[in-house]
Symmetry: C2
Subunit: 278 residues, 2 copies
């Protein structure tokens, strides 16, 4: 029995794509010729060409008969470089058109995992919703939320489709006090891939967040998926303390779209951080 491996074409395709997007191969750079690539990777020229065709479709390379294959100006529309901690508020402030599509809205008995996270009693019911958020008609996040039923009943289906969940919660008298969020990487399954308009098997940023009120009770469980080509999680840190006690302190910052990783001007002057009210 052989280990399950991706096709050779896809292997090469992803490899080259990574290198181009990562900047290892800078724009204007000429790739080795197809026969050379075939020799280097010990693949047939047919396979090489299939991979290059994929890159060409992606607009990452330009192939000129007789001349060669050249890397184009990579990172095409990396337009939105967001901070997961304040993305939505930031986008709205920029006047970008944002809308959410409500895919599911129901009341269910809680699952074990959600119950544990929200500290619910056995069999307690939760309000469950699935949304996809778009920016300029491009899907950029897939949101699955669970809210204890007693809180969930305070807002309607229409509310959820138009208003950020955390706003709804606070409007209902919930006092959000603490949150714990975890960021990981996953793969896009068939449904998610279609909803976020990416290839099946594409990498996705996965964030799980649990929000607690001032009594330590869980009020929201959020599982979010983001397209890494549209968003990344960024944070600024400063060095504080002296001697052996010198450590790094996080400073949540705003990142302007189109602006690359840029440290805060001067020192001190931390921006006011915020969390996405999704």
């Amino acid at each position: 029995m052989v280990a399950i491996e991706p096709s050779k074409t896809q292997r090469l395709y992803l490899l080259l794509k990574e290198q181009i997007l990562k900047g290892v191969l800078s724009p204007g750079h000429r790739l080795p010729s197809e026969p050379q690539l075939a020799a280097q990777h010990r693949l047939s020229r047919v396979t090489i060409r299939r991979a290059l065709e994929g890159l060409e479709q992606d607009g990452l390379i330009r192939r000129q008969p007789g001349a060669g294959t050249f890397v184009l100006d990579a990172r095409p529309r990396k337009g939105v470089v967001g901070d997961l901690s304040n993305m939505l508020a930031h986008l709205v402030a920029m006047g970008r058109a944002t809308r959410a599509k409500l895919l599911s809205f129901s009341y269910q008995p809680s699952t074990p995992a959600v119950s544990a996270a929200l500290k619910l009693a056995e069999g307690e019911r939760v309000q469950h919703s699935i949304r996809v958020r778009y920016i300029d008609d491009t899907p950029f996040s897939h949101l699955t939320t669970y809210v204890p039923e007693r809180i969930g009943v305070t807002y309607s289906e229409a509310d959820l489709a138009s208003t950020p969940l955390l706003t709804l919660l606070e409007r209902s008298g919930v006092v959000a006090d603490r949150a714990s969020q975890t960021v990981t990487a996953t793969l896009a399954g068939p449904e998610i891939a279609e909803l976020l308009q990416v290839e099946i098997g594409s990498p996705l940023l996965s964030m799980t967040r649990v929000v607690y009120d001032d009594h330590g009770r869980g009020v929201e469980y959020l599982s979010a998926l983001y397209r890494p080509d549209l968003h990344s999680f960024q944070m600024e840190m400063t060095r504080t303390g002296i001697g052996a006690e010198r450590r790094w302190s996080p400073v949540s910052s705003l990142t302007r779209p189109g602006t690359d990783t840029k440290p805060l001007p001067g020192r001190g002057n931390p921006r006011r951080p915020s969390i996405t009210p999704l």
Copy 2:
């Protein structure tokens, strides 16, 4: 021209693997029967079986003729649930065996991307290194670093294989003052996959960090890849301010391995945050 896609077998294999490792399918849980899976995913039973065979080889499932297919005690050695911000120090504190393998060590002319991030002059040279860090003989991170040559010369190859880079830098008189880090998701290419002992095409957490000294000059450019099954990036947040000015403030926290997302006890009492001295 068709987009380059992974094989259906591999697609399903990775998808199920993710769900098992992520805990969506808990140990002891019985998977749908092969015909059911075939119907759900609209694949033939042959394909379903190939994917399951891969999972069986990985020791993730048990297949019993006549009975069904069951999820085994997943995350066998999920031991390490780390915080990217202070992972290494934390692991060391726990007495886990950590070692780094130095794969490459050289001085090169800087690439455009690195030059921009570190604010180097045109053509300035950098010290480049690639390392893989292991914990208990399991690879968990792939580290690529660039340091301006004037700083890089202050430590040796042996230093780098044994001592965290940031420690070396500070030993050389560099004053690390600010850092900017970005977290995204990527796919594992052939070499990375082999080094980190994952399948080609598996999702990886990608972190890029730039450290600046007190004069705002870049002193370290780090590109790190982490296995999401072994690590996730976690942060705690608290609500501060009042009224319309009420916002979320990040509180970098320690996560104990084996302990799932758990809010800080009481309120206030923020842990002293730190950054990984990789």
